[in-house]
């Protein structure tokens, strides 16, 4: 067990490597109830969400979700999040555990005097289970009447799972097909148990924070607080694709537009180790003899059979195939910048 964002969470059940492989080849079940939920409702809810986030929430139909960021005036993320449109004037923001309170306070103060938009932290009303992996759909389908095949990526529906009312979202943080299930906390254990029983023949395993980290890193999904924070802009973090330039004014737009025009000076790149050793978060990164940055995330990638990581490097030194070095226990281990994502799931 470990402490993460104020929650006691298991790092692993059967072992990080074992759980990682289960998610890539069958399915894994994660308890991610630590994630925070913030709801915004009212006649001006859409305008409010548009003003505080970088992506274009107006493009969401009810039943759709999108990846976005809560931005500072400098264009840096207070947090990254998923925005769900529950109803025309009702949005659900799923935020990182460590940032729930900060995000809520940020949103509340940003929306002061913003018309008819109520902000409520509903984190305690939801437990969140993530069922991830290529066999997720068949496992979940046995426990719900919701037609999962019709549920496209980044859409959600409400229904029952194992007799428990749930919001079923086709989203995840592993790079695999999968679902995230919002249920009432008092019903979570029953759903967890029912899923593990139904999924056991298919190879479903409970999975912890360790595998969640190695899976998301292989899929090049950023972790807020490591790969980006309030000192790195969305463009530097490689998240220009969640900046909706044409949607109108939002917090941070001006700074981001200026940076886009001038060009970024540094950016987040992915690298793979060429020399033995694993680059861990915080290790120094060198271009030639010069220390140019730090590793933000690094791990052994079980699906790839090599060590990978992410780091901020000067834009001029960030091209794919450029050699860099990582300081590992006093030596300089050679690495190579590669295209992200490191891992892409096979399309069926």
């Amino acid at each position: 067990m470990t402490t993460f964002g104020g929650w006691e969470m298991p790092v692993q059940y059967s072992g990080v490597g074992d759980e990682h492989r289960a998610v890539r080849t069958a399915a894994g079940l994660f308890d991610v109830s630590h994630m925070g939920e913030i709801e915004i409702a009212g006649r001006d809810a859409l305008a409010a969400v548009q003003r505080i986030t970088s992506n274009d929430a107006a493009r969401l139909d009810v039943g759709q979700a999108q990846y976005s960021a809560l931005t500072t005036p400098a264009g840096t993320p207070v947090d990254d999040l998923l925005v769900y449109r529950l109803a025309p004037e009702h949005f659900l923001l799923v935020v990182n555990a460590a940032n729930t309170r900060k995000g809520r306070d940020w949103i509340t103060s940003a929306l002061e005097g913003a018309g008819d938009a109520v902000v409520v932290d509903t984190s305690r009303r939801y437990a969140l289970l993530a069922l991830q992996g290529p066999r997720s759909r068949e496992i979940l389908q046995a426990l719900t009447a919701v037609e999962l095949e019709a549920l496209r990526y980044y859409t959600f529906a409400t229904g029952e799972v194992a007799g428990v009312r749930a919001t079923i979202s086709r989203t995840g943080y592993t790079g695999e097909d999968g679902f995230e299930l919002f249920v009432a906390p008092q019903a979570a254990e029953a759903v967890w148990t029912a899923l593990l029983e139904a999924g056991a023949p298919a190879g479903l395993r409970p999975a912890g924070l360790g595998a969640r980290d190695s899976l998301r890193l292989e899929a090049s999904m950023r972790l807020h607080g490591q790969d980006m924070d309030e000192t790195t802009t969305l463009l530097e973090a490689g998240l220009g694709w969640i900046v909706a330039w044409d949607k109108g004014e939002f917090t941070g737009r001006e700074a981001l537009a200026a940076q886009r025009a001038a060009g970024v000076e540094r950016r987040l790149v992915g690298f793979e180790m060429l020399d033995p050793g694993i680059a861990r978060a915080g290790y120094d990164v060198y271009a030639g003899d010069e220390r140019v940055g730090r590793v933000t995330s690094g791990t052994w990638a079980p699906s790839l059979g090599k060590a990978i990581g992410m780091a901020y490097v000067p834009a001029a030194a960030g091209a794919v195939d450029t050699g860099i070095a990582v300081g590992i226990r006093g030596r300089r281990a050679q690495a190579r910048i590669v295209r992200m994502p490191f891992y892409r799931r096979p399309r069926s």
């Binding site: 790092v11 692993q12 072992g15 990080v16 490597g17 074992d18 990682h20 360790g210 980290d213 190695s214 033995p276 050793g277 694993i278 861990r280 791990t299 052994w300 079980p302 060590a307 226990r329």
Partner: protein
């Protein structure tokens, strides 16, 4: 659970001594804490270390753990097979040695834990 034919450090290394040389490995407890071992960094033959000095590191998917030399001495052998099969440490931690050290002061062994003492240490 912990073999009685060797001594243990509080940092979870074991050393099994015969004829003035000690085979050094990590304990089942250490292996369990680390999880899947994916890389072992070992010193070159001929290096000398003081008791308690770091001689290498073991990397698993989730963490890196430093290795400390249980005794002072010179490295006379390194288990090269671990470069290709580091996971043998998970399968058989007490049967998988990392290095062999030629002891410069066998008296240092007295400061180490026996199997019972180590078992109590990690209980």
């Amino acid at each position: 659970m912990y073999p009685a034919d060797r001594k243990y450090t509080k940092d979870h290394e074991w050393i099994r001594v015969a004829d003035g040389q000690g085979h050094v490995g990590i304990t089942g407890y250490a292996q369990e804490q680390l999880g899947d071992v994916v890389y072992v960094e070992l010193p070159a033959v001929g290096r000398t270390f003081a008791q308690g000095e770091q001689f290498g590191a073991v990397e698993s998917v989730k963490a890196v753990s430093d290795l400390y030399c249980p005794v002072s001495g010179e490295v006379v052998q390194v288990n090269e097979a671990l470069a290709d099969r580091p996971e043998t440490i998970n399968g058989d931690p007490h049967g998988t040695w990392l290095i062999v050290v030629k002891l410069s002061d066998p008296g240092e062994l007295d400061a180490l834990l026996d199997a019972g003492g180590y078992g109590a240490h990690v209980a």
